[in-house]
Each structure stands twice: as structure tokens, then as C-alpha cells.
Point group: C2
Chain length 557, copies 2
């Protein structure tokens, strides 16, 4: 695989046709700029896999051209792949102060921080990467310090929005920079890449500030402890919880590793304002009157090992949820997490807590960090792009975003819904699809990165369905006679004590297969294995309607 | 385990603390009446399991007292366990015409129909089961022919609502019988068991009739084929689709086994009115102009093998979804099905279809079959029960239903939130919790009912995470010397060709363990197995951060 040969190429290595593992690439001649380096959690069809990161084959094969990785913000689906990818690519990294603060922690843990070349950028930065001039614009999102990116090339200007909403009354930060965006649009945008997460949602996403009002109200009314579970990275949300607690004269305890981690970094870097004396240790919660305490914790997705789930199972060493306490789920479950979160809510109700949960639109304790349809149209209006590539979303979201772009006047033929790896090439102001670069998912399992392939996964899935039955036949190497066996061992198939009759008969099936093998004067052990597999598989399916993996092993002595 | 010894006892064997496998029991002295016999699909924490049905240990131990099974309606979570349970219990079965029509199909498939004693009931029926008089009242739901049940005992009257909503403008059936319910309430209700599915939802569930208006509008506007995916059992919905198609001069094709099955039964029994000539075979769809066809299909939950998913993957033998076709998802995903359904919607958009999906409140093409908070309060008001047991729901739903009951004036101490198996006993008009009967889930896997236990499940889960590594050591039976091995075989752990170095070193770890075993003059092979497991486990975790199941097998020759 060589490099693509267009003047200007744009493609995704992750993030289109999916939510997660965002990685986009802009290549102008011999200059490659990578945008974001995210990770994604596996579905249940990838048993045992810890994490998914983008396949960076293309970047490795063109590593001499990679000028930089630019990070739009510090969410896991934009920086979570960094330790794995950096180990292989060692590219210079650009990001805002908070983003790099979070990245540093990741690289330190992976023992990669010392060698990393990190450059802090601001919305005002202007950098030159090879022949490409790169500048930025401020956006709003559910983590501070987010950027959109403007690439100026000799072919024209390309804009990447990052994740965004338009928060016109933001919490402790500036609103998205409408004037700068207007200016960019005025100067002409060849192509816009804009995020599509909420493209299915009508209207305008409410301001983060709305949440604060509800949180304060809840803390005012509560007569005992108030627990608030939210994403640790939502620093504005944390700020509002702390402010509400402070105004209601409650101390704040932090529970959950990432909560402590983010609060520490955000305070250090000036993104979180709080009097030091407001914080108390979880171990000291019991020392305060219940109506003088608020607890900020992780686990808003019902993750079984996170703080809130442990609290709900009454399984936390230091803090207890008691009858009459209030628990606020300040988040919406990500698809796939609904059942875990429901279980956590059930457990909290069983403890007698008053739980505030459900869609943010009903409870007021959560708003999305992503712009809804009106905001996506606003971005399209401001940028007035000639070409539009919806990114950051599953297909139906990209599709809805396309409809929005058409509605605001983008030429239907100028909209490209791409898959990961599809190259959009630009020449003389015209765009076309120009082939594919390698793309896909790299699976992380323990220390292994990309070493788990389809065969291993297929085996894991198969093992999980009906288990395994191992048949061991020992033969004499020189005479080819059967010395021992068949011995059978099963795991995950049937409970032995209850099914001895079955396994005895299975044994007879194997014995008969061996007899047939010898009778027919067959020689290759491969054929015996085949015979055992077939006969035993058939017998077991008839008797149980199950299909365990059958693994005949021939031991030569 | 003997029988419970209260005058009147009520308990659930399935359906509280969960959605699914409904089964409730009323016992008056020596007369046991069972209500419903549902099944439930397993979560991902039950790998390989096909179905879950209630544990009926109590009923088997008291089978001489079981007078009848009464079915409230024909949904799977109320009748799906029947073939498995009937095989063991052989009890007389009561249900309405449509419910028994669906039951007959199930029993026929399981070769149990001939011996089954089925009695058709109507809302006007009045039956005597032992000392208990049983009557009924008509309700509305997302399947026709639903009943609530009234049990008259010498201790007082007990009412079980079944699943219900109040549809005041129902489609081709009567509205729920408010007058009869009012009369029951007036005569005094000792205990009400009422369903809680939508107890978290404010307001009043819209009438089924609202859907028809939208369906007709969609068929009017569509210039090509219209596909409607919905639950086959929702006969009123099917009726509305057929009516809309008929009025728009479209023929109707049915795709999906259960769709064909339900339409056949419902027509036969008079629950579905349609001119015979409106139906066409799927294979004939292509013979009609695209704007003269509607397709009713299964798969509204995105089930990978159902009709809609096959159509979306362009994988149906007879019918194709073409660019410009309209697809209506006339259902809401059940929690856990969201991702599958999203994938199906993505695939349909990729085919160029216009897909109408999302919450029924937004699209108008779906309404729930369960009453919302105002309807649950209405039922509580009508029945004016002395005691209230919320049923049919996960804990938070039961909890919200309790709050509704308190709000309409039921005494807080007279509300029992129970778990499956908890017995509520009544004597002299007073209720109390009175111990537990055996309850739990019986797992169906292939032909096995209840033979899969925790060990097998734990092994399946473990195998699915990091696979298995089998280590075979062959020893001489008489001398105790090692003849061969260690031989190692792995499945689902690592891909062999890429990890030979690792497995070679693992082999050395085993060899060293054997040497240590012999050096220390240990004799029991059990100890060698233990040693190999420990040393190999430690080595592999250090090297890979994975924990495959390690299975040492010693073959004696």
C-alpha cells in the first residue's frame, strides 16, 4: 500500500458509520495531519475484548509524512486510542491545555510521556504543518476547551468541527465563537466535516446552565445526602454541582477514580473553581450531618464496577446510601447501557433512596453536549461549505445530517456520506470519491494490540454458546494402536453429575468411530479427528439440540 | 417443601422484579389457581441459553391442589412457558378464544395438544375452581381478547388486572369494561394485583386508533412500496394496516413466520376482518406496481433473523427494499434491542429507503399497549382495594406504581412490593408477608429444561472472555513417569501462528512445573494439575494480561 496520490485527500480511519474511535486524516500532497485518536468499547459480539482503536496501517506506511496529531477535545472517543497508537506512530501531538492535561495522564501510565512531544494550542493559535496552515475556533461541548479546526491548503479551506453545541449561556467559559466561524465561512470553505451525533434530534440542545438550576433546587429540598452521578470529564457539570453544594452549604466528597483524577487536573489547570475547604474525604462523610453533604460520583452509565453501582449494591467501603437520601443520575445512558443503569436505579430504590433519573428533558438534570438539528443547520449556514462530509455518527445520523445540509442549500451532489477508509479527493475545487485506504478496527485484549483475529473471536463466541467437549485418544506412535481413551472432559456444556448417561453414550460413539476408523484401515489421524467430530456432533445435537465445540486431541506416545 | 398453610395466599413465581415470565399463584386452602405461564429471553449474562421459564417446584410439589391455569392473554411473556411447564404439570387451561388459539399452536408443536384440556372463557364467564369462584372483566391491550380476573374467596375478593390500558376508542373491539370494574370495586376488593409496565410514564397512553390515521397518511403519500414492521400479535395494528392498505388500494403481502401464523389464526377466529383478495404472496409482490403494495412483516425489534433485518440486508428471497420505498417501524425497541434495531434502520437507509422510526410519540406510528400513570390510577380508583400488590415490572416500576397507589389513597402499609416467591397471606381481612416458596429461573437450552446450572454458565462466560488452554500430560500408569507432553491446544485465546513464541515459553513453564513436581517427590496428580494451573496462569497473565481457562489433563497409559 502506498500513499494516496491526490493533491488533497480527506478520509476517516474511525468515526463514520459508528459512534467512537474517531480518527480523521487530511493529506495535502506529502503532508498528513491526523485529527483525533479515539477508542471505543466493544459490543457483546467481541467477547473478551477490552477496547477498539482505529487501524492505522495507512499512517504506519506513510509515517514519514505524518506531521501531527491534533486533538479536538479530551473525550475518550477522541483521545482514548492514544497510548496504543502513539507507541507505534510517535507523532507530535497538539491539543488545548485541558486536553493535553488528560493526555499526559494516559501517556504517563503507558510509560510514554517522557518521549512525547506535546504542544499546547488555543483558539487563537496559528500553526504551520508542512504546507498546511492550521487555525482553530472555539466551540462548546460537554468538556471544556474544545476546538474546531481550519485547514488552509492551496486547494482550499477545510473545516473540521470537532464535537460541538452552541451554548449561548455557557458555564464558566465563552460561548462558541460565532464571529470567527462567520469569518471563516465568509472567506470560503471548500469542505466541511461536521459531527452528526444528534442529527436525529429536533430543535436546539438546551444550555448547560439549565442543569445548574435544577441541581440547586434538588439540593435545597433534600433533607439528607445528595449523590450526583455524572461523567467525570463534564467539568462544567462538576462546577455546577460544586456551586450548588456550596450555595446550599453542603460539603462535597468525590468517589470514583476518574472523578478524583479529573477534578485534580481541572483544578490544577484552572478549569474548575472551588474553595479548597468545600471538599471532604469520602471517609469523612459520616462525620457531617446528612443535609450538609453532597457526593459527586462516577457510574452514571450503571457500569458494574463504578462508584454508583457499588453504592447501589451497598458495597462501598466508606459511604452508604441510606433511606431518604437523594440520588441524581445526571446523564443519559449510552445505547447498550440501559439495562445496567436500570439495575442500578432498581437497587437504589430498594435502599429507599429518592432517585432522579430518566430523560434529561423530563428531569432537567442533564443536557446533551451535542448540537441538535437547529445547531447543525446553524453550523452549515455559518460555514457555507461547497462540499459537506457528515462525520461522527452511525449511518442513520449521517443520513439525517445530509438531509439537514440539503435543507440549508448544500448541493445534493456535494454531500459525501463515507465509510471509514473512503478517500474524498479534491482537485481544482472539485471533489470525488477516490478509492479506499486500509481501515478497520484494531482490537485491544490485555497487552495484545491487534493480535486477536476472527478465528479467536469466532471460537470465543462458539465456546460461550454451548461450551467445549474435549476427547483425548492416546496412540502408540510406532504401532499406531490406541493405548488409552477416549477420555472426555467438558466445560460449559453440561453439568457432568447430571449427565453421566449422556457422556457414557458419547464415549460409545467415539469408541465406535475409532473402530470404524481401524476397520476401514484409515491411517491419517486427521481423518479420525474428523470422524469423531462428525459422529459426536451429530449424536449430541440429536440428544440435546446443543452444539458444543468438539475438540479431538490425539496424543502420540 | 410442603404447601403453604394460610387461608389465602398470593405469590408470584415470575413477573415481579423483572419484565417477563409472568406467573402468579392464588391459593385458597387446598385450591391452587395459576395465572399465566410466561417465558423471557435471556440477557447476555446467560450465554447459550434459549429461554427462561419460571421455576415451578412449588406447583409440582402441590400438583394435586392445582385446579387450573388461567391465561390473561396471548403474549409470549404470559404463555411462552406453556410447552415446558405443561409437560410437567398437565393442568387444565382456561383462556379466551384467541389466547387458546395461540396456545394450541404451541402445544401442537410440542406434541402436547391432544392430551391438553383447554376451556374457552369470555368476559362473561363464571367458573368455580374448587372453593374459588372466578369471573372476568374485559380490558384493552396490544393483543385482542385480554382479561382481568376476579377471584371470590371466603377471605374476600382478589383482582388480577392482566396487562391493560384504557382504550376509549379501540379498534374493532369493545373498550375496557369500566362499568363492570366499577361494580367489582363497589362490592369490595381485598387485594388488587395490577401491572406496572408503564408506571414510570406520565399521562394517558394514546388510543390504538391514533396509529391508523398516521398509517393511512403514510400510505397515501408513499409513491412506492410501504413496509410496516410490527409485532405479529398486535392484531389491532394488523387490522389498521390492512384497512389503510385497502383504502389506498394497496395489496398486502405478509412476511415472517409468526406474521403469517397470527394472521391465519386471527382471521379464522374472527379477530381480523379482511377481504380475501387483498392478500398476495410475497413472491408476487414484484408483479404489482410499487404504489399498489404494502408489506406487513416481523422484525420490528431488529431481531437479526426476522423478516425486516433480512430485507434490510437485502437478503430476502422474494422481496426487495428499493430506493424510494417507505419502511415504517411500528414498535418501540424493548430495552436491550436498541442496537439491533439501529443497525436495521442504518441498513434500510443505505438501501435508499425512507424509514419512519423513533419514539411513537414523535412518529405517531406506535402506541404502547400498557396504561400510563393516569390509567394505573384509574384502575386503582375503580377497584378501591384494601391491599395493593404491584406486579409485572422491574423494581423501579413497582416502586413508582406504589407511589401512584399512595397518591390515590391506598394505605402505605397496605402496599406490598414483593419478590418472586414472597408469599402474601390473608386472614380475617389482614395481610402479612408469610415466608417464601421456591422460585427462580429455569433455563431452557436446546432440549434441556433446567439442567444448565451456575457452574456451566460460569464456564461459558469465562470461556467467552479469554478462551481455553488445554495442557495434556501423558504418564505411565505403573511407573508414574511422564511419557509425553506437555501438549498444548488452545481455542479462543491467541492465534497460534502469531504467538508461537508465547506458547513455547508456556510449554517451558509446564515442563518446569513437572520437574518441580517430581523433584519434590509429590505423588498426587491433582497437585501437579494445581501447580500447572498456577504457574501457567501467572505466566500468561504477566505476559498477556489475559486469563484463559487453563485445563490440565493427565492421561494415564
Amino acid at each position: 500500500m502506498s500513499s494516496v496520490h491526490n493533491k488533497l485527500s480527506i478520509f476517516a480511519l474511525g468515526g463514520v458509520g459508528e459512534i467512537g474511535k474517531n480518527m480523521y486524516v487530511l493529506q495535502y500532497e506529502d503532508d498528513i495531519i491526523v485529527i483525533d485518536c479515539g477508542s471505543k468499547f466493544p459490543d457483546e459480539d467481541l467477547p473478551g475484548i477490552d477496547l477498539i482503536v482505529p487501524d492505522i496501517t495507512y499512517l504506519l506506511e506513510n509515517r514519514d509524512k505524518v506531521r501531527a496529531l491534533i486533538l479536538t477535545h479530551g473525550h475518550e472517543d477522541h483521545i482514548g486510542g492514544l497510548p496504543y497508537i502513539y507507541k507505534q506512530l510517535r507523532m507530535p501531538i497538539y491539543g488545548t491545555k485541558l486536553t493535553l492535561g488528560l493526555v499526559e495522564g494516559k501517556l504517563r501510565e503507558a510509560n510514554l510521556l517522557k518521549e512525547a512531544e506535546l504542544t499546547v494550542i488555543t483558539p487563537e493559535s496559528d500553526i504551520q504543518l508542512g504546507t498546511v496552515s492550521v487555525s482553530f475556533f472555539k466551540t462548546n461541548h460537554s468538556i471544556p476547551d474544545c476546538l474546531g479546526i481550519v485547514f488552509q491548503t492551496n486547494e482550499g479551506t477545510v473545516v473540521h468541527t470537532g464535537d460541538f453545541k452552541f451554548d449561548l449561556t455557557p458555564v464558566s467559559e465563552e460561548a462558541a465563537d460565532l464571529h470567527r466561524m462567520a469569518e471563516i465561512g465568509k472567506n470560503g470553505v471548500l469542505a466541511l466535516l461536521s459531527e452528526s451525533t444528534n442529527a436525529e434530534r429536533v430543535g436546539f440542545t438546551p444550555s448547560e446552565r439549565k442543569v445548574g438550576v435544577h441541581l440547586e433546587e434538588i439540593m435545597r429540598k433534600a433533607r439528607q445526602k445528595v449523590f450526583i452521578a455524572t461523567f467525570a470529564s463534564n467539568v462544567h457539570r462538576l462546577q455546577q454541582v460544586i456551586d450548588a453544594a456550596d450555595s446550599m452549604n453542603r460539603k462535597v466528597a468525590l468517589i470514583g477514580r476518574s472523578m478524583v483524577n479529573v477534578v485534580t487536573i481541572a483544578k490544577e489547570l484552572g478549569y474548575l473553581q472551588a474553595r479548597e475547604e468545600i471538599f471532604i474525604e469520602p471517609g469523612d462523610v459520616h462525620k457531617y450531618p446528612a443535609d450538609r453533604v453532597a457526593v459527586l460520583c462516577t457510574g452514571s452509565q450503571g457500569e458494574p464496577m463504578a462508584a454508583l453501582s457499588r453504592l447501589a449494591r451497598n458495597n462501598h467501603r466508606q459511604v452508604e446510601v441510606l433511606r431518604g437520601d437523594t440520588v441524581v443520575i445526571s446523564a443519559t445512558p449510552i445505547p447498550g447501557n440501559e439495562r445496567n443503569l436500570s439495575r442500578t436505579v432498581d437497587d437504589l430504590f430498594k435502599l429507599g433512596a429518592n432517585v432522579i433519573y430518566g430523560p434529561g428533558s423530563a428531569t432537567g438534570v442533564h443536557v446533551s453536549g451535542h448540537g441538535s438539528q437547529e445547531e447543525l443547520k446553524l453550523m452549515l449556514h455559518l460555514m457555507r461549505p461547497k462540499y459537506f462530509i457528515p462525520i461522527h455518527g452511525e449511518y442513520r445520523m449521517l443520513h439525517q445530517h445530509r438531509l439537514l445540509a440539503e435543507a440549508v442549500g448544500v448541493d445534493q451532489d456535494h454531500i459525501f456520506i463515507v465509510e471509514n477508509g473512503d478517500v474524498v479527493a479534491f482537485q481544482n475545487g472539485e471533489a470525488r470519491l477516490a478509492g479506499k485506504v486500509p481501515s478497520g478496527r484494531t482490537l485491544v485484549d490485555g497487552l495484545g494490540i491487534g493480535d486477536i483475529g476472527n478465528i479467536v473471536l469466532r471460537d470465543r463466541r462458539s465456546l460461550s454458546q454451548d461450551g467445549i467437549l474435549i476427547v483425548i485418544i492416546t496412540i502408540n506412535k510406532s504401532h499406531g494402536t490406541i493405548l488409552s481413551g477416549p477420555d472426555m472432559v467438558s466445560r460449559g456444556f453440561v453439568y457432568i453429575r447430571e449427565s453421566e448417561g449422556l457422556l457414557e453414550q458419547a464415549n460409545e460413539v467415539v469408541v465406535a468411530s475409532i473402530a470404524k476408523f481401524q476397520e476401514d484401515n484409515m491411517k491419517q489421524w486427521r481423518l479420525l479427528k474428523q470422524l469423531v467430530k462428525e459422529n459426536l456432533g451429530k449424536f449430541l445435537y440429536e440428544r440435546t439440540k446443543r452444539r458444543p465445540m468438539i475438540l479431538p486431541i490425539i496424543v502420540e506416545v
